[in-house]
C-alpha cells in the first residue's frame, strides 16, 4: 500500500523492539555516555524506528547498484601545490585547552 507510513500508528502496534539492538554497546562504539534513563528511553524509541525500517526488506534489490550520492562527478582532484592554510592562532581559537601553539590532550601513553 503506498504511503502506509502515514498510517504508521497502526503499523507500530504490530512491531516489537529489535531483540539484538543493544543500545549500551552501540553508544560505546559511538563514544557517547548515556544515563540509565536515556538508555532505556532511546532503546525503546530506536526499537520502533528500526521496526519501521524493516519495511526495506520488502524491496527486491538483487539487481540494483547502490547510490552513495547524486552528484555527477567522480575523482575530483586539484593540483598538489602548497597554499596558505588557517593561521595557527585561528586553528586554536576554539580549543578547550591549548599551550605553546598546540592543542593540549589527555595523556595517552604511560
Amino acid at each position: 500500500m503506498p504511503f502506509s507510513a502515514l498510517h504508521f500508528g497502526d503499523a507500530l502496534s504490530t512491531l516489537t523492539s529489535m531483540s539484538d539492538f543493544n543500545v549500551k554497546y552501540v553508544a560505546h562504539l559511538a563514544r557517547l555516555s548515556l544515563t540509565p534513563e536515556e538508555e532505556q528511553k532511546f532503546g525503546a524509541q530506536l526499537g520502533q524506528v528500526l521496526g519501521y525500517i524493516e519495511k526495506l526488506k520488502e524491496v527486491d534489490v538483487s539487481q540494483v547498484e547502490p547510490t552513495a550520492h547524486a552528484v555527477p562527478l567522480v575523482n575530483v582532484t586539484r593540483p598538489d601545490v602548497v597554499r596558505p592554510s588557517l593561521p595557527n592562532e585561528d586553528a586554536l581559537r576554539n580549543a578547550p585547552l591549548k599551550s605553546n601553539g598546540l592543542f593540549v590532550v589527555p595523556k595517552i601513553v604511560e
Partner: protein, 487 residues
C-alpha cells in the same frame, strides 16, 4: 515598512536613493526588538556589525556601485546557525559548540558579502539540523509567526520564521531532508533547495554529506532566484560542487508556462493528508493548468520507502560527521580518566537527545554485521527512488506535490515521538535522496486557525530555471505570498 519589502522592491528604492542600507537594517533590527521576544527566530545578532556593514553598503552606493555589479548591495540577510561567518558565533543550536566562533567565512557568506549583502544574525534551528520543529534546539523553540502556540517547522525554523515575521528580507538555511521546504511551507514563505552540487557547502557544518544543500528563504520567487544567482557555482573547496554553468535565474521568470508538463504523483495524494492541504494543492494544480501547464498523472512507486531509506543514510552519515565533536580541538570538553572517557563524557554532556538518538542509530546501521542489511540496502533503495524521478522526468518537466501532510502542528505535540516527527518530512525527503531541486511556496491557508499551506515543485537535476519559472508564474497569479501574520 522597509523590513517588509522584498529584495527587488528594496533594491529599486536603494537605486533611486529613496532609502538607505542603514535605514533598512535599522528597520530589521527594530522589528527584531519588537517581535522576536515572542518568535525567538534569532539566537543572537550583532547589531553594531550589521550597521557597520550597512554604512559600508551606503558608501558603495554613494560612490556609484550599481546592483548590476553587486546584486544584493544593502540587503540584510540573516543566516541559520550552521553557516560560518568569520569572527561570529557558530553553534548549530548545540551546547557542544556554545562558545565556538568561526575562523573563516563559508563560501556562500563570501559570495553574499561580495554581492553587497548585510550578513547578520544567528538563526535558531534544531540542534545540528536534526529535527522538524526547532524543538531540538538546545536553547529555545522558535514560534510560528501565524500562531505562536505552534512550531515553525524545522530544522531551519528560525530562518523561515524570521522571513515570515519580516525580521529581515531573506535568510539562508540548509536542507537535508526538507529542512528548508518544510519550515517555508509552515511559515508561509518561499524556500528553495537547489540541486545537490549547485551550491558549495564549504563552511556549512555537515550533517549528512550526500544530502545537505544550502538554500534561500525569501518573500517571493524572484528573490529566491536573485539569491541563487549569487550563491551558486563550482567551488574548489567543496569537491561535490559541480562545474555546471550558472545561468541568470531571474531571466527565467517569464511568466509563461504554456505547454509545460507537470506530473502529479499519485503516491503523494493518499490517506493521512489533511483535507485543507489536499484542497489547497488541488486548487493550485488547477491554477497551473489554467496558466497553460499540462497536468499528467505519474507514479513514483518507491515513495513509501523514502523515510526508511533516509533515516538509515542520514543517520549513518551523521554518526561519521559528528565524530569530530570529541572535546579535543574545539567545543565543549568534559574531562575523564582516559581519552575514551573524555570523548564519551564530552559527547554525552554536549549533545541533546535527538542528536544522540541519530548518532546511535547511524552507528548501529554501519556496525559490523549490520552494514549490508541496513546501510547497503538503503543505498540500493535510494537508487530506485532516484530512478523513479529520472523516469518521471522523461515524461514531465516538473513534479507537483504538497510540501507537508498538515499545516504547522503545536509545540510539544510530537516532540516525544521521534517516529511521528520523522513522518512530517514524508513529502520532502525523496528530493534529497534523488539530489534534485525543490521549492516550496505558499498556496493557501487553513481556516481555523489560519495557517499557511505549502506547494512543492520538484525539478530535474540542475533544472532550477524551469522550476522557478513555474513557481513564479503560479505565485504571480495568486496573492498568497502577500499575506502576512499579525504580530
Amino acid at each position: 515598512m522597509l523590513n517588509s519589502l522584498t529584495i527587488s522592491e528594496l533594491v529599486a528604492r536603494l537605486a533611486k536613493r529613496e532609502t538607505s542600507a542603514r535605514d533598512v537594517t535599522q528597520a530589521c533590527l527594530d522589528q527584531i526588538q519588537r517581535v522576536d521576544g515572542n518568535i525567538h527566530a534569532f539566537l543572537s545578532y550583532d547589531a553594531p556589525d550589521a550597521l557597520a556593514q550597512a554604512d559600508a553598503a551606503d558608501k558603495a552606493l554613494a560612490s556609484g556601485t550599481s546592483h548590476a555589479q553587486r546584486p544584493l548591495l544593502g540587503v540584510p540577510i540573516a543566516l541559520k546557525d550552521v553557516l560560518a561567518v568569520r569572527n561570529q558565533p557558530l553553534g548549530c543550536a548545540s551546547k557542544i559548540l556554545a562558545k565556538f566562533t568561526s575562523p573563516y567565512d563559508a563560501t556562500v557568506v563570501e559570495k553574499l558579502k561580495a554581492a553587497g549583502a548585510i550578513v547578520f544574525g544567528r538563526l535558531n534551528m534544531d540542534e545540528f539540523a536534526m529535527g522538524s520543529s526547532t524543538e531540538n534546539s538546545a536553547f529555545v523553540t522558535t514560534r510560528n509567526p501565524w500562531d505562536t502556540a505552534r512550531i515553525p517547522g524545522g530544522s531551519s525554523g528560525g530562518s523561515a520564521a524570521a522571513v515570515a515575521a519580516d525580521e529581515c528580507l531573506a535568510t539562508l538555511g540548509s536542507d537535508t531532508g526538507g529542512s528548508i521546504r518544510q519550515p517555508a511551507a509552515l511559515c508561509g514563505c518561499v524556500g528553495l533547495k537547489p540541486t545537490y552540487g549547485r551550491v558549495s557547502r564549504y563552511g556549512l557544518v555537515a550533517f549528512a554529506s550526500s544530502l545537505d544543500q544550502i538554500g534561500p528563504f525569501t518573500k517571493d520567487i524572484r528573490d529566491a532566484a536573485t539569491i541563487l544567482n549569487v550563491i551558486s557555482g563550482r567551488d574548489e573547496r567543496d569537491s561535490t560542487s559541480v562545474p555546471e554553468p550558472v545561468p541568470d535565474y531571474t531571466a527565467a521568470l517569464t511568466g509563461n508556462i504554456k505547454g509545460l508538463k507537470i506530473g502529479l504523483p499519485k503516491e503523494y495524494f493518499i490517506g493521512g493528508l489533511d483535507k485543507e492541504v489536499t484542497d489547497a494543492v488541488n486548487a493550485a494544480v488547477k491554477q497551473l493548468e489554467k496558466l497553460g501547464a499540462e497536468i499528467v498523472e505519474i507514479s513514483l512507486p518507491h515513495t513509501d520507502y523514502a523515510v526508511a531509506v533516509y533515516y538509515i543514510i542520514a543517520t549513518a552519515e551523521a554518526s561519521a560527521n559528528l565524530a569530530r565533536f570529541d572535546g579535543i580541538r574545539y567545543g565543549l570538553r568534559v574531562d575523564g580518566a582516559d581519552p575514551i572517557e573524555l570523548y564519551s563524557k564530552t559527547r554525552g554532556a554536549g549533545f541533546g537527545p535527538e542528536v544522540k538518538r541519530r548518532i546511535i542509530l547511524g552507528t548501529y546501521v554501519l556496525s559490523s554485521g549490520y552494514y549490508d542489511a541496513y546501510y547497503l540496502r538503503a543505498q540500493k533503495v535510494r537508487t530506485l527512488i532516484r530512478q523513479d524521478f529520472l523516469k518521471a522526468f522523461e515524461k514531465v518537466d516538473l513534479v507537483v506535490t504538497p510540501t507537508t501532510p498538515t499545516p504547522a502542528f503545536k509545540a510539544g505535540e510530537k516532540s516525544d515521538d521521534p517516529m511521528q516527527m520523522y513522518l512530517s518530512d514524508i513529502f520532502t525527503i525523496s528530493c534529497n535522496l534523488a539530489g534534485i531541486p525543490g521549492v516550496s511556496l505558499p498556496c493557501g491557508f487553513s481556516t481555523n486557525p489560519k495557517l499557511p499551506i505549502g506547494l512543492q515543485l520538484l525539478g530535474k537535476p540542475f533544472g532550477e530555471e524551469t522550476l522557478l519559472r513555474a513557481a513564479h508564474a503560479y505565485e504571480q497569479s495568486t496573492a498568497w505570498h502577500k499575506e502576512r501574520p499579525k504580530l
